[in-house]
Amino acid sequence: MTKFGLAQPVRRVEDPRLLKGAGRYTDDIVLPGMLHGVVVRSPHAAARITAIDTAAAVAVAGVVAVFTGADLAAAGVDPLYSAVPMTNRDGSAGANPPHPALAQGFVRHVGDPVAFVVAETLAAARDGAEAVAVSYQQMPAITDPARAMDEGAAQVWADAPHNLAFDWEVGDRAATEALFARAHHVTRLTVINNRVVASSIETRGAVAAYDAAAGRWTLWANTQGGWLVKESLAAAFRTEQASFRIVTPDVGGAFGMKIFPYPEHVCLAFAARAVGRPVKWLAERAESFLSDTHGRDNVTLGELAVDGDGRFLALRTRNIANMGAYLSTYAPFIPTFAGTIVLASVYGFRSVYANVLGVFTHTVPVDAYRGAGRPESNYLVERLVDQAARDLGIDRVELRRRNMVAPSAMPWQTPVGGRYDSGEFVRVLDAAAAKMDWSAFRARRALSARHGLRRGIGLAYYLEATGGSNSERAEIVFAEDGFVDVYVGTQSSGQGHETAYVQLTADRLGIPGEQIRIHQGDTDRIPVGGGTGGARSLYSEGQAILLTARSVIDKGRQAASEALEAAAADIVFEAGRFTIAGTDRGIDILSLAATQRARRARGEEATLLDAAEVAAIDAHTYPNGCHMAEVEVDPETGVVQLLRYIVVDDVGRAINPLIVRGQVQGGVAQGFGQAVREQAVYDPDSGQLLSGSFMDYALPRADDLPDIEVELLEIPCTTNPLGVKGAGEAGAVGSPPAVMNAILDALAEAGVADLDMPATPEKVWKAIAAAEATSL
């Protein structure tokens, strides 16, 4: 086994650099003559702007320029638009309102950008921002998605009546209705999927520079892949994509939120061109809460039809999904295509019908957040299954086992568009139950009861569908200094991509991992890339690396046949050496590459080994697994303590089990945060964000969590040659329902049947108190 072998728990090669402070983040970009930008944001959730007076701001010492929406409009800069507006179920087009980088007469959420102040120093820019006088005429606001369609609710967009962005459906409605009509039992549940804030440790930021002679911008920005930003900026500035170079330095956390083009990118590009100097903007934490896309925020009715044998017949859902004030890039896609594809989960539903209503509210736009639609669907399904088990008096594990799709049924086509290539759901479920010692829970509950505590155990079987761009590129270059450079089209924000790609390249080319360098994040150097999101990176970029490595080897075989004076067909490649079959005559790949490069340098005929390939990603993958949680609830105070958490995961082959575990543990913690701690709270009348800082918005901390035990059952994916499925989102998909099901189990004997996230002490305690009051 080599140090960088596949399936090895190789320590992350990027960590020494990042941990020693040698990472280079967006805020580390400092250019000569660089100015600083500050965004003036709306303090109101809904208002008409009657006047903007920038005179006092321009007069502030150090302020270079102040821009408003009028400046952008006059220069012909277009608003941003969602990339995926929906088609309504009646065939009409869903809404796709403009998202101006700076307000055009109206503001629609607290934090909506109104003006952009550029100054010599950050302090001067802040002073300038404070001096911008904006006159607002306040209007009524709506923040609650469940009330957004009510008669008389405040309207976010005049041409979107009832605040309806789209009314979308998937699945066979008639067939579903028919199955419901003959169901033995129907379980109904309305769940709230709480709005959360991504809270990456590095806030959003960017630096823009404009080269007037070339007519070209460079934008350094913390993205999840600069190509989408490039495309969007080119559209906004009505120019060629080639006019933009997007460079993504190291990124400190993203979780989906950094995928998108944002108003600040437009402001920076505009300002850099207008003033002829580079401009930097970096969000303060308070700004992040008010301007980063939020996640989730659904209110969903789910109905599960079951026959007399406890077999699931059909699933029907009606989901109200809060879009926020504008349609962010992928926002409409999240609760629709991305979310509903996993609605059938691992169960053999005969029919599924989903209706999704996207609604506008005066809140920060919502978009992809770790899992993006799949956690919401899994949460609904797993809560419904638990409720059905209680309704029918069937054991929760048994009910799931009874309804799981068998491995022999693979590939399995679901009623909502999924095509599962592989999966052994019952095996994974049983492994989890054994690991958790599920059957001995009763004794543990009794022990807690002796201490006055209510103990609960819960599980969730999740199924995730990875997604993203349908192609990916890799380029392998044998550099002059003897290193091998690999250029990738994905973008790490902390996942450990560099390590996994080094492992793959080392394995395929037989090159020591220490001599491989991974490069990402420059749209000039790397012409196309799908970026990172939807847990796609390893299976997508991995395939591209495989394809490119094969191309390198083909070229190497040709070069070796010339160097070794043998027929190409007789050359074999193994463990980094090209040899003539049946002999010990050969040359190692690095020496061969160096020889060829030297020949080329001398002007001689040479076959360079460098190669670039774009792999088509024909099928996406279906990671799945079983989460189990055990909790103790203090009935006197409502405090929930997570005692034990286990995951048995099928994320396919693990190229690096250490990184997979880290990804799953991080995801579980994030999902636990949503289940028990986190909630973006808006004041219902004024639309002010009340949880606008880390004092009011409770992220989980280390002492909230036990060790998260992760076991990997590697059931290879059959639709890609690596057999990998993806692990980036999985943890966050499984943990909210597992934790909530455990809490509800703990509270069941107290008479609590339903509870929405986050299960804060107050809500838990109130639920217990309400149940006690009812039972009196």
């Binding site: 303090p43 109101h44 502030v60 607290v110 002073d127 404070e130 001096a131 303060e284 308070a286 201490h451 006055g452 505590l453 103790e632 203090d634 006197e636 105070t637 409502g638 405090v639 303590q641 701690r677 709270v681 004041d683 219902p684 009348d685 004024s686 002010q688 009340l690 949880s691 606008g692 800082s693 004092m695 009011d696 409770a698 989980p700 901390r701 002492d703 909230d704 804060t760 002490p761 107050e762 305690w765 109130k766 108190a769």
Partner: protein, 351 residues
Amino acid sequence: MNLFEYVRPASLAEAIAAGAAPGAAFLAGGTNLLDLMKGGIARPSRLVDLTRLPGLGAIERGPEGGVRIGALVRNADLAHDPDFAQRFPAVAEALLSGASAQLRNAATVGGNLMQRTRCAYFYDPASACNKRDAGAGCAARGGERRLAAVLGASEQCIATHASDFCVPLAALDAVVEIAGAAGTREVALEDFHLLPGATPERESVLAPGELILAVRLPAAAAAFARHARYLKLRERTSYAFAVVSAAAALRIEAGAIVEGRIALGGVAAKPWRARGAEAVLSGQKPERALFRRAAEAALAEARPVGDNGFKIELARRIVARALALAAAGTPARLPALPASPFAPVPGGPHG
């Protein structure tokens, strides 16, 4: 434009003179004030940095067994002072249950008393707040009031005081030493913070220019050391303010409570001493039913605002449990998670 002057006085007299100017604010640890300034909630025209003033950084044991804690003593230094923690364990526990390790390293004793409310509307300059802007109105009244005060609130303000430290101090008869232009004076900690009434912008008895020199605990406070606890209910295991909290201290002789002390946090604009509840304890045998009666008395005057009635019952339970924990005896070492409601109560409902 938030232009302000920064002065670093060399003497107490200079500090008092500099701090008396309108718009002046004293700066010590800065853990609250700097955040408020960054958020545009506090806009002092002058910052008077006290951190270089001599003589305010000592923990001194008094001749009769009390302690005098200088205003600039850092929270962490006080909590980890072995002699102090042993004699006033509930105070140490309260300190360690607050904020984060980094903040405790910076935050000072005086600053802890002077910290502002965590009311979300106070922190949002776009919302009306009588505390921030006298006479502007109170957006919290008609808003999200979950964490609002249930004791001593007024029409004008329903904010709470966020300190953990002040809660056992109030229970243990701490005294605040104050210096001003007219000399020094002393105020019981219980009287130091003001209830909002019609003037919620006035939060303490300090006059402009007056500053805190020290906080004193009397010798009698150390007599509770064997039965003193602080218990804090919060929405996250650490680094969170109290939803409700309670300090309980008992003197138990021959199986009976000679004297009991109770104060609550998170329920009012000041640390709330519950003297009525203390009277219930006197001379009684320490047992669950008694603690529950004391808890009822402690919250007798509590009134919900909106739908936050849950805080009243939670506070009762926290008081009863703090008393049970105190009766069981102060642990030899502070628990790893100080003030956690998950601490087992020996012999109690969770023992």
